[in-house]
Structures are given as C-alpha cells and as structure tokens.
C-alpha cells in the first residue's frame, strides 16, 4: 500500500462517519441487550482453537491490492498447510483504529508499514519481535531493507513485502518532441520548468487535497538540501521546525511554486495525474504506486521517470522516499507458531512474486527475487532504489503520524495557499504544536 493509505484516496472511500459510528454503537448496544449468546457472535475469534488456523488483519481494502493479497495468501496456504482467515478492514479505518486494535483482540498477523510508524508501536510493547522469523528469511534481504525492518531496540518487528520510489514522472514522447533533456541539477530543473511554462504546459501537475501528497515534495527537497540524516532528525523532532534549514527547504519549494499546478489543495492527485497523462502537464512528482498505477495500459509504455535533481552537491541524489509495506504480529498472538510460519513464507522471493503478479507498480524487496516479469516502471524503480544510498520511508512513516496529520500537513497546505510566503509563521505554528506529540 502507498503512503496514502491512511487516508481515503478518493471521495468514494468514505471514512467512518460519526453517524455510522453511532449506528454501529446503537447496534452493539442492542446486541448486548439481547444477551451474551448474540453478543458472542460479534467477538468470535477464529484461530483460537485450531493450531493450523491463522487470522490475518488486512487493510488492503482497495480492489487491486486486495486481489493481490488474496492471491499471495492462497499460495501461502498451499505452501504451509495453514488455513488463513483474512479480516479486511477499510484502510483508513484500520489505521485510525490501530491503537485500540492492538490493545484489544488483534488478529495473529496484520498489515503495517516500516519506519518510525512501526518502531513507535514496538517501543510501546504492542507488537511481537520477529527475530525467530528473520533467522530463517534474513538471507533474502539486503542490509538496508533489514535495517528498515528493525525497531529502535535492534530487534526485527516487520516482514516486508514491497516498496516503491517517489520520483519525477514524464512522458517520453513529449520530452522527445520538445527536445527536453532530463534535468540533474536544480538550475537545469528550474530552466526546464520555465521552458515548459513558455511552451504552454503546466510544468508540474499537483494535487494535495488529501494532504499526504505534498509532504513527498517537502521530503525530497529537504533530503537534497540538508541530507538524509537531517531528515531523520527533523522527523524525530531532534531539530526544531523553526531551524533555518527547514525554512530553506520551503524557500526552495517557493521558487518552484509558480510552475506548479495551482489550486492543489482542492484537487485529488488522480485529477492531477489525468492532466499529466493528457500531456497538458509536463511532469508530476509522486510515487510509482500512484502515478504508474493510474496510467492506462495504452499510455504506460510512454511513461518514464527520473530521480529528483540534485540541489546541494554534498548530498547529490543520494536519498529517496521509498516506503516499505509489510506485516507484523501483535504482542501476544493467539497462534504464535502459525503466524511465524506464515511470515516465514511471506518473507520469501516466491511470495513476493505471487503478490506482484497482480500489482505492477510496486517492486519486491527480496534481493534474490526473480524480476523477469517486471515491466519498465518496475525495472527502473529497482534500479533507482538500488543506486540510492539512503532510503527514507516518507514523512508520515518516519515521524509520529498524528503530528504529521494534524499539524504539519495543514501548515503545508497553508504554505501552498499563501503561494510560498509566510514561511516563518508556518514554521512557528508547527513548532508550537510539536510539544503535544513529542514529550520528554
């Protein structure tokens, strides 16, 4: 799942409304009144008795990932002899409920994300360490992937399945017809943006209605300008948001803004991607998991991308956001042995390949995976991820998610509304609220 999965990717994935919540609540109260016999139906826990039954809490609720996930689980069942019961929950609801889910009666295995977003729950003791699983699967993964799957205590907590990079997309035919070259430095980048505007394009398509999209741009400018280590320090709030280096990031972004599609705060990224696919916008910066997945199969061969250009030569193009999705186990699962057995299978190149048969915009993370079936987008993604020294997870995965959701993202929208001015007030507003989320 992409970084947006905490949110509704479009208007049709409505989050649980208060009304619906009340209805559920009323329903539950009614059930309880009918006596324990009925109430028990609501809390049946598959897998508590049978040793070969594993329950799996999944947030792969959109049609495509759901099908890919079901395919992989079916293969896992065949290979391990386990019966896996999948409990799919709308991804937005799943993620918002995670705190109470993990403290209630969670499934044996559940879907989650690498990065601080995983480490936070490991710190709280809400998830099970998976060192036993990693003893068996460790050989399939590179050191950088291994590092991304460890908690702050050095133990493993997640088994990864795929990732995907955030890159600048363009259409090969458009670049060829206009004679544009791929920019590798900030100066070339700005020249290209200006030229594109003169040639009647929207230089950069952009949608930020769901608020998680713009942080990708912040991340990449930050890592190009201040480096990966600074990104991590800022995300963990070891550096204040009022630091002048953060202001510099926004200043660079502000230089780009005149060439970015206006009105981004009211546009879903899918609409921006459509403008780009229709050749009215020249480029778009986002994840392959979104843009490549949104492209029609007819246009897909024309789609290409490159890493965001260098800004500070000290850091070159040595970092990229490439979020990893994976699977974890709660602190005390009902079927520990079964869950571990299942994860041992999922942590193999075979399982990743089965998953990616139905998902052609993400790439597997096992280094010994058979990539012969990859399309051009996937091949290039692998190349970019392999050639990039530092893999970041994304703003809302490297930091405290609620802080990013409720504090940083609204202020980035404010920055976009202001057209790039008022940076210092944006930063002091963010910093003023940080204390609520980062204590001690």
């Amino acid at each position: 799942m992409p970084a947006y999965d905490r949110y509704s990717p479009g208007p049709f994935h409505s989050p649980l409304s208060r009304r619906a919540a009340l209805r559920t609540f009323a329903g539950a109260a009614g059930l309880a009144a009918l006596g324990p016999a009925l109430a028990a139906c609501g809390s049946s826990t598959p897998g508590s008795a049978a040793p070969n039954v594993v329950s799996f809490g999944s947030n792969y609720s959109d049609a495509a990932p759901k099908a890919a996930f079901a395919g992989m689980i079916a293969a896992a069942g065949k290979a391990t002899g386990l019966t896996v019961k999948i409990n799919t929950v709308d991804h937005n609801t799943f993620q918002n409920d995670i705190t109470s889910y993990l403290q209630g009666t969670p499934n044996d295995v559940f879907t989650w994300f690498a990065g601080y977003r995983m480490q936070y729950f490991a710190q709280q003791g809400l998830v099970h360490n998976l060192n036993a699983v990693w003893d068996k699967i460790g050989g399939h993964f590179s050191d950088s992937i291994k590092a991304a799957c460890k908690g702050l205590d050095g133990n493993y907590y997640i088994v990864p399945i795929y990732n995907y990079p955030w890159v600048v997309f363009y259409r090969k035919s458009v670049f060829a017809s206009k004679g544009y070259a791929i920019p590798t430095t900030w100066a070339e980048w700005m020249t290209l943006l200006k030229q594109a505007q003169r040639d009647g394009f929207v230089p950069l398509a952009f949608g930020d209605k769901d608020k998680w999209e713009a942080p990708g741009t912040f991340d990449i400018i930050n890592m190009r300008l201040n480096g990966y280590a600074f990104h991590m320090d800022l995300m963990k709030h070891k550096v204040k948001w009022t630091d002048s280096r953060v202001a510099d990031v926004f200043a660079y972004w502000a230089k780009m803004l005149p060439y970015v599609q206006t009105g981004a705060n009211g546009r879903i990224w899918e609409d921006a991607a459509t403008l780009f696919e229709n050749k009215k916008a020249l480029m778009m910066f986002q994840g392959t998991d979104q843009v490549a997945a949104a492209f029609s199969s007819a246009d897909l061969p024309d789609l290409d991308f490159f890493p965001f250009p260098q800004i500070n030569p000290a850091y070159g193009q040595d970092s990229v956001d490439a979020p990893i999705d994976g699977f974890m186990m709660p602190a005390s699962p009902k079927n520990l042995a079964g869950g571990e057995k299942l994860l041992e299978y999922i942590g193999t190149p075979t399982a990743e390949k089965v998953y990616l048969e139905k998902d052609s915009s993400d790439v597997g993370v096992a280094s010994d995976m058979d990539t012969s079936a990859y399309n051009a987008v996937q091949k290039k993604s692998v190349e970019i991820i392999k050639n990039t020294k530092n893999i970041a997870q994304f703003m809302d995965r490297d930091s405290v998610p609620g802080f990013i959701d409720n504090v940083v993202e609204p202020q980035i929208q404010q920055f976009i509304t202001n057209g790039g001015s008022g940076i210092s007030s944006v930063l002091s507003t963010i910093e003023g609220q940080a204390g609520q989320y980062f204590t001690g």
Partner: protein
C-alpha cells in the same frame, strides 16, 4: 398482599402516625411491585448514568490530562488546564473552528430554515405537481451527508466538475478551487448543507401547514387579509409547536455538523469545526485523548447555551399559558 389500609386518608392530625403509616404502606408493596419499580426506575437510571453521565464526567476529567491512549488510564498525566490553554493560544485550528461553527449556525438560521419554510408555504398552495416538487426537495434528506459530500465533490471538482465546466473555469490555471481555497470552501460546503437542510425543514413545516385548520384561513380571507398577512398573523402563530421543533433542529444540526466536512477534507484548510477537531485528535493514528476530551468539553459548553436558552423560554411559556 393487596391488604392496603383502607382508612388511610386520616388527615393531617398526627404527623408521627402518618409517617408510620406511610412506612407501613411501603412495606406492604409486594416483591413483584418492588421489582417492577426497581426495573422501571433502575433501568432508565442505569442507562442515563452509563451512557450520559459516566462518559460526560469521564471526558471532563480526561480533559485535564495528557494521554496517548496506550496503556491503562493510570498512564495519563495530570496536566491541569494546559489543554484548554493550548487550544486557546496555540492550536491554529481552534478559533477558526468556533468561528465556523457559528457561521454554520448563522447560515442555517438565516438561509436554510427560512428557505425551507418558504418552499413549504409555496408547496402548500395549490400548485400543479406539488407532490413532485416535494419529492425533489426532500430527496437530499434521504441521502446520508457523507453521500451528499461525495455528490457535491463531483460538482465542485476544479478541473472536471460540473460547475467549473459550465462556468468555463476548468482550465489548468483559471479553475475556481471551490473545495481547496480556504476562503471559499466553507461557503461551498454550506451550500451542500443548506441544500439538504432546506428540504428537511420544508417537509416538517409542510406537515404542520397541512394540520392548520382551513377555517382559520377562510376567516382571515373573509376579513380581507392579504396572503402575507394571513401567513404572519394567523398561520405562523398557530404553528408555534412546529416552529419550536424547527428551531431546535436548526440549532442541533448546525452544532453537530460533521459528516460533509469530514468527507470533504477531514475538517482542515478552512473547514475546521469543533466536531472534526475532536475526531482528528481522538480517532487518529496517534491519539491525543486528553486534548480531544478538552475540545469535547468546549463543544458541550457551546451546545449548552442554546439548549438552556431554549429550555428557559419553553418553561416560561408553559408557565404563562
């Protein structure tokens, strides 16, 4: 044991004897009577305490703490009034939320409700196809607010929406950003909300109008009243019970406004409301339960103002009639 003392009404002669008798009479209640009384008083009381007082008081207590929702309640830190101070001084969304709630109330009071009443009065006259109009205006009420938000999102979409396409403002650079411009989006969403609210008020008022005795109108016409005089001097006062219901609904619907805004952008970027602030703080992936509870208390206090006003007015009227 139906042997209740038949000579009970002894008068206020001796209070001691009276109280003794009362005590005896209580004792003479059968076990079944006691059970029935206990059930009839106890169940509503338990529900009232369990579902209203317990959560309310817990919320008020939680509002003085910092608690991320992990571990037992014992892990909550007592921080006094900090959450309230934080809301008033630091949270950039708090004051806009209060303001937007008030604007919402104003729009319902000044636009949606009068418009709904106007529709009802017009449809109450003998217009051809009155039923069809009623159905059309009532249709939005039957849709959930979440669905209404989705429908209007398609209308407002800046590049592909109906409104901008009709206005010819759907280009890459001249598009009107209805739902993304923080100065516009509240009004855009209020149109959605009023669209629904007007239909709701209309149907309630129409039902009331149908119940008005036609003889009253006839008498007014006979006395030479104009249609507007008939409405304001005769029909409107007669409709007082319905008017009160509509006033209450208008207040409640505007204070609990949530769904449309949440579906549009989760209540940020110019659409902050108290209800969405609470939700974002309590139901998010990182939960600030204490702060969310403090916002809940603020909403409670804000809601109490119209409710108490209403009750006071109501009671005064009842006493005077």
């Amino acid at each position: 044991m139906a042997t209740v003392n038949a000579q009970a009404p002894a008068g206020p002669a001796s209070s001691a004897a009276g109280s003794r008798r009362r005590r005896r009479r209580l004792r003479t209640l059968s076990r079944r009577d006691k059970l029935v009384i206990a059930l009839m008083a106890g169940v509503p009381l338990a529900l009232d305490i369990g579902f209203i007082w317990f959560p309310t008081i817990t919320s008020v207590l939680l509002s003085f703490t910092h608690w991320m929702g992990i571990g037992g309640l014992g892990t909550a830190q007592w921080i006094g009034l900090h959450n309230y101070a934080y809301a008033a001084t630091t949270d950039p969304a708090f004051w806009p939320a209060i303001e937007h709630n008030l604007i919402w109330l104003g729009a319902f009071v000044c636009v949606a409700t009068p418009f709904g009443i106007l529709l009802a009065v017009l449809l109450d006259g003998k217009i051809r196809g009155s039923r069809i109009y009623q159905s059309i205006f009532f249709l939005p009420v039957m849709l959930s607010l979440a669905l209404i938000g989705t429908i209007w999102e398609l209308m407002y979409s800046s590049n592909y929406g109906l409104i901008n396409s009709v206005l010819g403002a759907n280009g890459a650079n001249n598009a009107i950003d209805w739902l993304g411009n923080p100065k516009l989006d509240l009004w855009a969403v209020l149109i959605e909300a009023c669209w629904r609210q007007a239909g709701y008020v209309m149907i309630l008022y129409l039902a009331g109008l149908k119940a008005v005795d036609p003889a009253l109108r006839e008498a007014a016409v006979m006395d030479g009243a104009t249609p507007s005089q008939t409405f304001w001097r005769v029909v409107f006062p007669v409709m007082r019970p319905v008017n009160v219901v509509i006033a209450v609904i208008t207040f409640i619907e505007s204070l609990r406004a949530f769904d449309i805004v949440y579906i549009t952008n989760r209540g940020t970027n110019g659409l902050e409301l108290l209800s969405t602030l609470i939700t974002n703080n309590i139901l998010g992936e990182t939960t600030l339960i204490g702060y969310g509870a403090a916002l809940g208390v603020v909403l409670l206090v804000v809601s109490l103002v119209p409710i108490i006003t209403f009750l006071v007015v109501r009671l005064r009227q009842e006493r005077s009639t």
